[in-house]
């Protein structure tokens, strides 16, 4: 084996063996990778065994086509998307890139792109990149809970505006935006302006009615609804001009070449079905787990704050809290040793050594961002999981705080 790879492999293997496995494990890092419904996993395995490529004229090919069509029907009905096409990508990131870059490529002269200051990096970075090609990017500020400043948005929409992209639900702090008012502001000024929403964190968790809200494009992600990784989708309303951003062949879809991930799409369809059929039940379950977790942490730990809104305007699954004087990356490692898996907005967990842009945009100081922990609950969690997390968090926070310089506390 090549020497550098062998060294890395040896290192990570010895790390895993040194990191003892906790007798109890609770996976709450659904922001970065998912749990999966057993039923979705079964669909995925079955599809690997039997389905082919939907572009080809043979039985396994037609069987694959059936999977795609069923998934499309499940998704567009679930979010009431109206007439248009659904493009399956391999992730939510790809769907967001296609929306932003693909629309820009097809633009007939309008150059202004509006995004909120707290968008996912898969919206923020492509939009920033387009500035090199003569597009103008304007970030719409948000308030302390992450709600888009609608007056500022209205003041920025003009004859040069090509698109507005605002996530229905923020991925880090769970803010549920008023999509209908956002689209109304935009469409009232000019109905040709395209409104895109990153709905990856909204799907299955908040009611979505894209047609009623006048949303033109929406991105989705499989692993965020307990479906397999490796599948995302972009809905594009009929009549919108969009150019492909990847080129190749062997696909049943014009806008995304390459072999479709049929097994993941089959698992996605199953998860969509489960979320649709049990929508109210899942929602109340997540809200209960979320509030038990938030309230329990407030009761047990001092010097802690909730990032994002409380109550009905917060995504049912989102818990984002900052533990002051407790560096977030150290806390993720400490919790990992206790079998609890979470992520942090600390600069130390990022590859660019800058803390979460979302927390900074809602006006949190750096030290609050560095001490933030993001957890997401799901229908697969139960009261016992939350009980265990609430037992462990105070001890973990105390240990990390004990290491911190007392002079600053």
């Amino acid at each position: 084996m090549r020497k550098d790879l062998a060294e890395q492999l040896e290192k990570v293997r010895s790390l895993i063996s040194a990191h003892s496995r906790s007798s109890r494990e609770v996976y709450l890092d659904l922001e970065n990778s998912g749990l999966i419904f057993e039923e979705s996993l079964e669909e995925l395995i079955e599809a690997y065994r039997s389905r082919g490529n939907p572009s080809i004229t043979h039985r396994p090919g037609w069987w694959a086509l059936e999977v795609i069509l069923e998934a499309e029907a499940n998704l567009v009905e679930f979010v009431n998307a109206g007439n248009g096409e659904l493009v399956f990508t391999h992730s939510g990131t790809e769907a967001n890139n296609l929306a932003i870059m693909g629309l820009a490529r097809a633009s007939n002269g309008r150059r202004k792109i509006l995004v909120s200051a707290i968008e996912h990096l898969s919206v923020k970075f492509p939009a920033e990149r387009l500035q090199n090609q003569g597009f103008k990017l304007v970030e719409i500020p948000v308030d302390g809970e992450g709600f888009v400043n609608l007056d500022h948005l209205a003041s920025q929409v003009d004859g040069d505006t090509l698109m507005v992209s605002i996530a229905a639900v923020n991925h880090e702090i769970g803010t549920i935006q008023d999509l209908k008012s956002i689209a109304e502001i935009v469409k009232d000024k000019n109905s040709e302006i395209i409104v895109h929403t990153d709905a990856c964190d909204a799907l299955g968790r908040v009611p979505l009615d894209l047609e009623r809200a006048r949303i033109d494009m929406a991105s989705f992600s499989g692993h965020k609804i307990l479906a397999p990784k490796g599948v995302g989708a972009l809905f594009i309303m009929e009549g919108i001009k969009i150019e492909p951003i990847l080129h190749g062949q062997l696909s049943s879809q014009r806008l995304w070449p390459g072999a479709e991930n049929i097994p993941a799409i089959a698992g996605f369809a199953k998860a969509l079905k489960l979320f649709r059929e049990n929508f109210d039940e899942y929602r109340s379950k997540m809200i209960k787990l979320r509030d038990t977790l938030i309230d329990g942490i407030f009761e047990r730990v001092d010097e802690v704050m909730l990032n994002g809104p409380r109550g009905d305007n917060r995504a049912p699954d989102n818990v984002n809290m900052s533990f002051l004087y407790c560096e977030g990356e150290a806390l993720t490692v400490e919790l990992s040793l206790r079998g609890i898996y979470v992520s942090s907005g600390s600069a130390c967990t990022s590859r660019i050594l800058e803390p979460s842009h979302v927390l900074l945009a809602i006006g949190k100081p750096y030290e609050v961002a560095h001490g933030s922990i993001l957890m997401k609950v799901s229908p697969m969690h139960d009261d016992e999981d939350i009980k265990y997390v609430l037992e462990q968090i105070p001890e973990a926070v105390n240990r990390i705080r004990f290491i911190s310089p007392k002079a600053v506390m």
Partner: protein
Amino acid sequence: MSSRIPLPYSPKVLELFRSPKNLGRMDDANAIAAAGSLACGDMITIYLKIDEQAERIIDASFESYGCAANIATASLLTEIIKEKSLREAWSISWKQLSDELGGLPPIKYHCGILAVGALRRAIRAYYKDRVKPDWLPEELTPDERHALEEEELVKILSKRISVGRSGQDKDQ
């Protein structure tokens, strides 16, 4: 060379994170210094107890606000410098710390630099009102400068953010 950006820690880092040595403030220290800040997300305070006759470190301890690598680096440093002369302690490099930790991921090199920066500040603090030895440079060393830069980083970033915001205002 692989272009991945992995963040694996060595088992040594994990072990020292779990059970850090020499943790906590030292009430009878005769040299104390900190590097970094809460705002940069990395801060190390080093406490030294120095035998004034022999100019030798008798005891050392630390406190750290930072990631697991930061904690492990500070723990290792305080182990290494015990019983060393101040001159020997001064010459410890962040690379040496990284090597002894089984190689820090590149993105965590600054943790080692910060620890060395804090130690050198503590040694300078010790000599503040004493006769400075020949081996103590007048100029800041690169590791000390880096610690300063890290403290400045937050100011630079805040400035960048406020420039971005004023840019938006101009659009209005």
